[in-house]
C-alpha cells in the first residue's frame, strides 16, 4: 500500500492530518510509511493536481474524491463534513474508508 501526504508549508493543518493518519494506521495494524511530499510552487500544484493542503492519497486515490475535483492551488484544502461543517483536514471516517 502506498500512502502519500501532499502538503504545502503555507497551511498549518498537515501535521494534524499526519497525526490522525498515523492513529488510523496504527489502529488498523498497518505499518506502511507515510510518504511526505511537499508542494512548493503553483506549477507543482498544477502538475500534481493538488487541490490544497493536506491531500492524502492511498495507492494514488484521494481520500476525499469529491474534494479532489477542486482546481489545483497552493491553499488550505476544504473538507466538508456530512453535517455541513468544514474542516481543514479529512475526517477519521474518510481515512478509515480509504484504508479499508
Amino acid at each position: 500500500m502506498k500512502i502519500e501526504l501532499y502538503f504545502w508549508e503555507g497551511c498549518p493543518s498537515y501535521p494534524e492530518a499526519r497525526e490522525l493518519l498515523e492513529e488510523v494506521l496504527a489502529e488498523r495494524g498497518l505499518d506502511e510509511p507515510i510518504e511526505m511530499r511537499e508542494v512548493v510552487t503553483p506549477e507543482d500544484a498544477a502538475a500534481l493536481a493538488f487541490p490544497g493542503s493536506p491531500t492524502i492519497r492511498i495507492d494514488g486515490r484521494d481520500v476525499d474524491p469529491e474534494g479532489a475535483q477542486t482546481p489545483p492551488a497552493l491553499a488550505c484544502r476544504i473538507y466538508r463534513r456530512p453535517d455541513g461543517r468544514v474542516s481543514p483536514i479529512p475526517s477519521r471516517k474518510q481515512l478509515e474508508e480509504a484504508l479499508a
Binding site: G10, A75, C76, R77, I78, Y79, V86, S87, P88
Partner: protein
C-alpha cells in the same frame, strides 16, 4: 508577531455596495476587525461563531468588520464578486470589505485568516489573535474574542490580550 496598537485608517468597498471607513465606526464602543477571506477552511469553520458574536453584540454598539486582502488574481475564490456571493450565502450580519491594495493588512500586521483585532473606544488594540481555542465548536473551552469584547465594553483589559492566530496565510501579491 508585530501588530500596531491603534486601528489603521481605511476606506474600503464593502459587499453591500458601499465604501466603509474607520471614521464610520467612530461611535462604536468596541470595533472588531477580522482579517478574513472566502476560501480558507479555518475561516469557514469559524465564520458562524463570528456571525453569532456580531449579532449578539450589535445592540451594545459593537461593530464587527471582516476584511479580505487576499490576492484575487492568484486566488479567484477570493475575488470581490466571490466575496459578495459568499457573504450572501453565509448570511453575514457584519460588514465585509475588500482590501485590494493589501495596505490595510500590512498596516494591521496580519498574517492569517481568520485573525482578530479588538479595539476599545479609543481605538487602542486590546486583543489580537484567535476567535476561540478550537475550530471545532463543541471542543471550545476558551472564548478569547467574546471575553475581549466584554472586557473592552467594561473599560477593562482582557485577561488574554494576545494569542497566536491559526489559519491560512494572507495571500500576498508577488
Amino acid at each position: 508577531m508585530s501588530v500596531i496598537e491603534t486601528a489603521p485608517a481605511f476606506d474600503l468597498p464593502g459587499v453591500d455596495g458601499r465604501n466603509h471607513s474607520l471614521d464610520e465606526y467612530a461611535h462604536a464602543p468596541v470595533l472588531v476587525l477580522i482579517q478574513s477571506c472566502n476560501h480558507c477552511p479555518y475561516v469557514l469553520a469559524w465564520e458562524e461563531r463570528i456571525n453569532a458574536l456580531a449579532r449578539e453584540y450589535a445592540d451594545r454598539g459593537v461593530r464587527v468588520v471582516a476584511i479580505s486582502s487576499n490576492d484575487a488574481e492568484a486566488y479567484p475564490a477570493d475575488s470581490f464578486e466571490a466575496m459578495v456571493e459568499h457573504a450572501r450565502e453565509a448570511g453575514y450580519v457584519f460588514d465585509y470589505l475588500y482590501d485590494e491594495s493589501q495596505e490595510v493588512a500590512r498596516a494591521l500586521g496580519s498574517e492569517r485568516t481568520p485573525e482578530c483585532f479588538v479595539y476599545d473606544a479609543d481605538r487602542t488594540l486590546v486583543y489580537h489573535g484567535l476567535v476561540d481555542d478550537n475550530r471545532e465548536e463543541v471542543l471550545v473551552t476558551r472564548q478569547f474574542l467574546r471575553d475581549a469584547i466584554e472586557a473592552a465594553l467594561a473599560g477593562e483589559t482582557p485577561a488574554v490580550t494576545d494569542t497566536a492566530p491559526v489559519g491560512c496565510t494572507v495571500k500576498w501579491r508577488s
